[in-house]
């Protein structure tokens, strides 16, 4: 077989499968339907405030933000739902939020793997969730959680005293992948 065919052959097989499928869709012939199982929809993540956490602003079903408010190293925070701790050379502001994952079109026993990653490259502070520092590479937050379930998580933001006064900000991305 010529080398060109070696490359084209898998494509041809794929095309053939598609063509045969298309042939089966003619309107004149008696239709013989095959049950098709619709693929499950994409899992939906809902981020919301926790009962004991800071207030959270929602920007749609999957996007939200928490404003930790004004902070000082020596006085901490006065925002309800937040706590502050002084560590060596830094302060840690903590609050809680909730994550819910729904899996429309999936069975009730379906589960997802929840990962998190940081989208910004700001070095002025460190963001941790449930004690794990959020990095730029995706990390597992929950290895396996049932679809339709929710849970609270602790958010810690560590700010060194060397960070100059001003606004800081970060974005944390969550991804829920349906387990097969």
């Amino acid at each position: 077989m010529p080398p060109q065919l070696k490359v084209l052959f898998p494509v041809a097989v794929l095309a053939l499968v598609t063509w045969r499928t298309a042939l089966g869709q003619t309107t004149s012939a008696p239709r013989q339907t095959t049950p098709i199982v619709a693929p499950p929809a994409v899992p939906a993540i809902t981020i919301s405030g926790a009962a004991t956490g800071a207030s959270l602003r929602s920007y749609g079903p999957s996007n939200a933000s928490i404003d930790l408010g004004p902070l000082t190293y020596f006085r901490g925070t006065s925002v309800p739902g937040e706590t502050s701790q002084k560590a060596a050379g830094s302060m840690v502001i903590s609050t809680r939020f909730a994550l819910r994952v729904d899996c429309p079109g999936s069975s009730s026993s379906s589960r997802v793997r929840l990962t998190m990653s940081r989208l910004d490259a700001t070095s002025s502070h460190v963001v941790s969730i449930d004690g794990t520092t959020v990095g730029f590479a995706a990390q597992t937050l929950i290895p396996s959680m049932p679809c339709g379930s929710a849970g609270e998580h602790r958010l810690d933001v560590k700010i060194p005293i060397s960070t100059l006064a001003g606004s800081i900000g970060s974005s944390v991305a969550f991804a829920a992948t349906l387990e097969r």
Binding site: A64, L71, A165, S171, A175, T177, L178
Partner: protein, 176 residues
């Protein structure tokens, strides 16, 4: 060879099918905060000074007990100086430490001011007499994160009536 190609093709189809079925949903949480610079002043007992109450806090006191011009005992690390027959002075060192966070300031000015005017006794910190009317700058080049000793001296005239002497000195550190 032919079988190998067919196998490759089938695997390609399966790979495409598998990739298509990996369902992932996403969400994003934004976190914002406003960090303000802050400064903190604490008092502490000097190695050669009278034991403070409230040491390492910003509200402390120096209890000198009962003293008299010509007799009696003094608390540890309190020095009495008799100025002829006109007055006597009590002095003791204490430490002031100023810490800074989230600021580019490199030095601070330390001010001190009597809370209540005292027309009988004289209050000094180092060479600076303290008054209630205006704050006095003890230094304009204070180094952060260092305990700096200052000496408090109270001069009591011999003509003053026996009784309790009490006052408050308000300190403020201003980052420069």
């Amino acid at each position: 060879m032919k079988n190998k190609l067919i196998l490759t093709s089938v695997l390609s189809v399966f790979a495409l099918a598998t990739a298509a079925s990996a369902q992932t949903g996403s969400g994003t949480l934004g976190v914002t905060a406003t960090v303000a610079g802050s400064i903190n002043l604490t008092f502490s007992t000097d190695a050669s000074g009278l034991a403070m109450t409230g040491t390492t806090t910003s509200t402390a006191s120096l209890p000198m007990g009962t003293v008299s011009m010509y007799s009696g005992t003094l608390p540890t690390n309190v020095t009495k100086t008799i100025n002829g027959i006109t007055s006597f002075s009590l002095s003791t060192p204490f430490d002031v430490r100023v810490d800074l966070a989230n600021s580019a300031s490199t030095a601070y000015t330390l001010n001190a001011q009597l809370q209540t005017s005292d027309i009988v006794n004289t209050w000094n910190i180092g060479a600076f007499p303290l008054v209630a009317a205006t704050p006095v700058a003890l230094t304009a080049a204070g180094a952060y994160a260092t305990a700096v000793p200052y000496v408090l001296k109270i001069t009591v005239p011999a003509t003053a009536t026996a009784g309790t002497i009490t006052n408050t000195i308000n300190f403020s550190a201003v980052g420069g």
